[in-house]
Amino acid sequence: MRIDKGQISGTQFMFSVACFIQASALLATFISTVTLQDSWLVLLFGAVLCLPLIWLYRTLMVMFPDQNLLQILVEVYGPVVGKVIGVAYIWFFFTLASLNLTDLGNFTKLTIMQETPNMVLALMCVLVSAFAVRNGIKLVTRYSTLFAVITFILLSIGIILILNQIKLENFLPMFDQPFGKYVQGIHIISTIPFGELVVFLMIHPYVKLSRRNTTKYLLLGFGLGVITILGVLLPNIGVLGNLLDIFTLPTLVILRLVNLGMALSRMEIIFAVILVMLLFFKITLLYYVSVLATAQLFKVKAYRHLALAAGALIIAYGFTLYPSLVEHAASAQEITPFLWTPFEILIPLLTFCIAKLRKLPKTSKEMAKEQEV
């Protein structure tokens, strides 16, 4: 029961994963306000601790190569429980898409377009996204390579320009905060940028990949994403020092500080470009996944018709989520990591265990055949 006929290559898959994580990089304030100058260490620890999680996703992908997350759930938990969990996942995807759309609106307002209404920014983004979503997975992921490469180039330019203002002593002292802060930091980093990779369980059936290549591309994409976040965090810490946690967008502030011989200055547009580009990609992917999941749940063959309606829902939902940036940031630090944990860690883990116990992957093809018959 494949709704979308498109297929994507392994490289596209890899860059999609990278782009997806990169999109969170510029908003890395979530952890830098918690663990300050040690954020980069927390990031590295978090990345290492997330490797088993990535391995879990990879295992699920390999175990069920032709079924996406919702189908796996039905398969493992049976039609009723599976569908209930599926509905919860749909809510999760929609919320993620809305949150990122809100971010896009808010941060575009902060960086380049102060007076443009949020609604217009959200609407423009969703209209373009809807176009991609209607055309299927191929178009959704087509530009991932381009976006990831542009991000790398622009980010490198930014880092080189700001290099002379980095003070190494800002990284000291290390391990100066209470232990709980590090745990909180690692929890945030593993649920907000990394754990969100669970959405790729929705699209892996469209990737032409062998068993070994799945691991390779998933980890490579993950690695690229981590490097990007590191590349954003390190200059932030090095330049801003003890002011790191008072800014809404530290990266924007440091790019504004670029001043090489009066001529090379005011580089914040780099930030705006990367931000809009990456968030657009992330929103499109989440939007696509939400639409796909909804269509699958209700057994709609022509998921295209759902695209615009879902877009409207995402916009409207986004506006009602948080009354202000402050509350958004606060909940991202305190509530969201706990709320996301079941979706990103617990349910996939449970699914994996039950599937192993019931020895499902072996019979999955037969069962699929039975269903079709």
Partner: protein, 393 residues
């Protein structure tokens, strides 16, 4: 049928997109803007209020060349008001003026010394918060009233805000510690351990000529200006911080006067805790100098003189650094960030020290070790006076 619908849809959609994407909400045309080049805040009669002065660089072109005399007066506009907060002042300016204020090109934030003594911690919120605010704005203290500096009519530069920015750019080449940006200032202000400093400028009027003079550094503590360093003491501070390029060292002694130019001066700082709880700071200064000018030194041979000059320069650098350090100890303001160094090296002990740093800093011991190299003597090897003594022999 389908195609026709698509055509109609795109014909309708494209103009809509053009209208929306051109971001009409955020258009700022040059002829509707007032480009702010300097902001001055002064103490008002009511201590709750602020005297706000904005300097606006005119966007008018001077190519017409009709008048010489009016070009200076016309190049800036000063807007003044008194308000409780900066934002209220800005709102008032915007209401009463024909154009919108653009703060993005603001070069300098000048604080009057009276206001600085009163406290500025609660006055600079807008300069961090506003989306047009940039962290690279220079922070300076004006001797007396700040609006006088902004209104100065200078020969060198038409706009005094630009003058200050360029002057600081030059001083930045000497040492990065001269240039105090909003980021540096706010960072120290928030830190609470390292005392913020900011350059002091003063407008001086002689023979109908107005000039802006650099008058040392203001030293802050708890958001209030508590003292100042004069120009010599600023040297001592800059050298103690290191990373100095092209700066002068003047040494005076019985035999004559020597002026050296610093090619490179680097300082390494090391803090140690003595068992009795006293912090000991070791500054190892490593300087490469150039002889700039010599006066006197009769009867010295070149080799003797070189050794003598090295000693002279070393003791001069040590003296200035120690003098400044003593001044800051009397002010009880740790402008060097020694507390932060202790924090970084002894994180555990620091937890206890943190609250007592005010008592500890005045007792801190300083040890300055200066190492001077004099690789070149300039275009001449001997001076005129030395040559004369030779002939007499």
């Amino acid at each position: 049928m389908n195609r026709r619908i698509r055509l109609v849809a795109s014909v309708i959609l494209l103009p809509v997109l053009i209208m929306l994407l051109s971001s009409c909400w955020d258009n700022h045309e040059l002829d509707t803007l007032f480009i702010v080049t300097g902001v001055a805040l002064d103490k008002a009669d009511d201590p709750e209020q602020l005297d706000i002065t904005l300097q606006i660089g005119k966007t008018k072109s001077n190519t017409s060349g009709s008048g010489e005399s009016n070009s200076q007066q016309d190049s800036t506009i000063l807007l003044k008001t008194t308000a409780y907060t900066m934002m209220e002042g800005l709102m008032e300016f915007n209401r009463d003026s024909s154009r919108t204020l653009l703060l993005q090109h603001n070069q300098v934030l000048l604080l009057g010394s009276a206001l600085a003594e009163q406290g500025i911690k609660d006055r600079i919120d807008l300069f961090l918060r506003d989306h047009e605010a940039r962290m690279e704005v220079l922070v300076m203290i004006a001797d007396g009233r700040a609006d006088k500096v902004l209104s100065a009519k200078l020969d060198q530069e038409k706009i005094s805000g630009m003058f200050l920015a360029r002057e600081m750019q030059d001083l930045y080449a000497v040492s990065p510690y001269y240039k105090i940006r909003m980021l540096d200032f706010a960072s120290r202000l928030r830190d609470g351990i390292t005392s913020p400093v900011a350059p002091i400028v003063a407008m001086e009027e002689t023979d109908n000529k107005q000039e802006i003079k650099f008058n040392g550094f203001a030293v802050f503590k708890d958001g209030k200006m508590i003292g100042r360093l004069n120009n010599d003491e600023v040297m001592g501070y800059i050298w103690a911080m290191g990373n100095v390029k092209k700066c002068g060292v003047v040494a005076d002694c019985d035999m004559g006067r020597a002026v050296f130019q610093i090619i490179n001066l680097d300082t390494e700082r090391d803090v140690t805790l003595r068992p009795d709880g006293v912090v000991r700071v070791t500054l190892s200064v490593n300087a490469t100098l150039n002889i700039g000018e010599l006066r006197g030194f009769k009867g010295k041979t070149s080799q003797d003189l070189m050794r003598y000059l090295i000693d002279l320069a070393q003791s001069e650098i040590r003296r200035k650094i120690t003098d400044t350090f003593e001044t800051t100890q009397t002010l009880n303001a740790d402008i060097y960030g020694i507390g932060t160094s202790v924090h970084r090296k002894y994180p555990k002990e620091w937890k206890e020290f943190k609250n007592r740093w005010n008592e500890l800093f005045p007792d801190t011991e300083l040890d300055v070790q200066v190492q001077v190299h004099l690789p070149t003597t300039g275009q001449i090897i001997k001076s005129m006076e030395m040559e004369e003594t030779r002939r007499e022999d």
